[in-house]
Symmetry: C2
Subunit: 315 residues, 2 copies
């Protein structure tokens, strides 16, 4: 049995080709081979906190995974991060605990970024002129890094509300080899970029349909609750293809659920990412189409990344 | 953050006075101060296995606890135990992981035995002539050990189906200072003992109402599913007091649920252990009464024992 801290996990991740593993997870999910029970939850009032327990397995696989993710929102006052997390990996054959991954939420960040890259690979434009990033936080950084696995484009425009955060983002990502312009106007992102990733916890739309040019792909990763919304629902209506990581889940939360509530989309409109990967559902078919991917986060991503880390370090 | 293996946990338990902690847990539960969401479950077909995730906290306490218990029933073929388990203890203030208790199911054994002792303390006869143990497994041993905290009686009669296992039980428990007789007839247990603990996975009653003498207390710990049953339901009907660890849970599984199904008990008949401890509900009131305690296992016991171990080792 292994106990890994976040530094060891980051080291292990450097040698892992995670995209194929996460792709295989989405395929298994869309093919109905994933067993993912409802999320367990604990809520605390004072200080305000929440705990989510996500767990499941792929039928016929070697492991099952339990992920515990926490959000305690007074933590910054104690100089602690609000979000934390760990994953436990057990044998499907004996039930034994094989690995404790004390990743502090890092693997959730990575599996979310990997899903963004996969969405861009299957629904994004063939030729990316410029990448638009909406938001300046952790996902705004890691999404860009993982897009490098599926596009050669290193030209970036980033939107944020605070110039200081934009400056920091530009500095950090340029040090990693990107060319970054900053803007306070999402219209500029829409005008300049044909691959856009939105990464904010916004509850009001940041991009409107009139701004979006033909051929654009947008991946929305910020909206993971019923309240959050980053995209004008009219964008989903105008899109030729709307991809969901999990249709079931996207009917409950995220951009798709909002667009359905707003009456511009029906539950039959979205296609599922795993089905687009296998070709069972149609993704982008020409360079002028507008495409949207709504990623709310599926437990199968956690299962796949925990398995990949365990397999990498077990010998 | 601590990671403790089962040997370290056993060592820590030696210095812990667990009964008051578990008693306080039952009181908190009956007073509505425990937050215990529904149990999470994963099932596997081949090899057959099951995983239960139990979690919760006491409002205003320092920690919350997640317990993962597994049963993989082909494990003995691999020379591995069928049952395994671990507990995770986190801070209610920050969400941070404070202890990983790799107890392999040991703490579940202990908290179950502690509940047996508490039931005997509050509902058992003042003077115990002889202790009757039904079953020869792990709980048959540890229940006896924990009863020593609440009674001076060391005279024991044990029932089992296999003479070899009875012999082993007698040998082991006599080495620990008990005087043990063995029997293949539960009628002898009923005739000789006024404090009886049933610890088997039986699905047909092992004790019948005609056998039970006045003044007897029976604690049933074996029946933890809707299918299992150790006591003739007529015993519960004849009992002056029927105590449940959790009334809600005992309506779904265990002896009480069976007696209600059989129409000899109503949902209003049982009293809850936490209420008996505080005196809110009436337990045994005289030496001639027959009393029954039905223990199905409550997450609050896990919370309390994990907390006690963590507090003992954290310095």
């Amino acid at each position: 049995m292994n106990v890994l801290d976040v530094d060891s996990i980051k080291k292990a991740m450097a040698s892992i080709d995670i995209l194929p593993a996460i792709e295989a997870g989405f395929v298994a999910y869309s093919e109905g081979r994933a067993v993912v029970p409802p999320v367990g939850e604990l809520l605390f009032e004072s200080p305000p906190g929440e705990v989510h327990i996500k767990y499941g397995y792929l039928a016929g696989d070697s492991y099952y995974v339990i992920k515990i993710a926490t959000g305690f929102y007074d933590n910054p006052r104690l100089n602690l991060p609000s979000n934390n997390g760990m994953m436990l990996l057990f044998s499907q054959r004996t039930g034994e605990l094989d690995s404790i991954l004390l990743d502090e939420g890092y693997l959730t960040e990575v599996r979310t970024a990997a899903a963004g890259a996969i969405a861009a690979k299957y629904a994004g434009p063939r030729k990316v002129h410029r990448i638009g990033i909406v938001g300046t936080g952790g996902q705004a950084r890691i999404q860009l890094r993982y897009l490098s696995f599926v596009t050669d484009c290193r030209k970036v425009m980033v939107w944020g509300r605070q110039e200081a955060k934009l400056g920091l983002y530009k500095e950090e990502m340029e040090a990693e080899g990107y060319s970054v312009d900053v803007t306070l106007d999402t219209g500029e992102i829409a005008a300049e970029c044909n691959l856009i990733v939105t990464t904010t916890p916004s509850t009001t739309p940041l991009l409107t349909v009139g701004q979006i040019r033909k051929g654009t792909h947008i991946t929305a990763v910020g909206s993971d609750t019923p309240e959050k919304q980053e995209l004008d629902s009219a964008i989903l209506k105008a899109a030729n293809v709307v991809v969901a990581d999990s249709i079931t889940q996207c009917l409950e939360r995220g951009e798709i659920s909002r667009a359905i509530q707003n009456g511009v989309l029906t539950a039959k409109d979205p296609v599922e990412l795993g089905d687009v990967i296998t070709g069972k559902a149609r993704g982008r078919t020409d360079d002028d189409q507008i495409t949207v991917a709504d990623l709310t986060g599926v437990a199968v991503q956690d299962i796949q990344i925990a398995t990949a880390v365990h397999e990498a370090i077990k010998d």
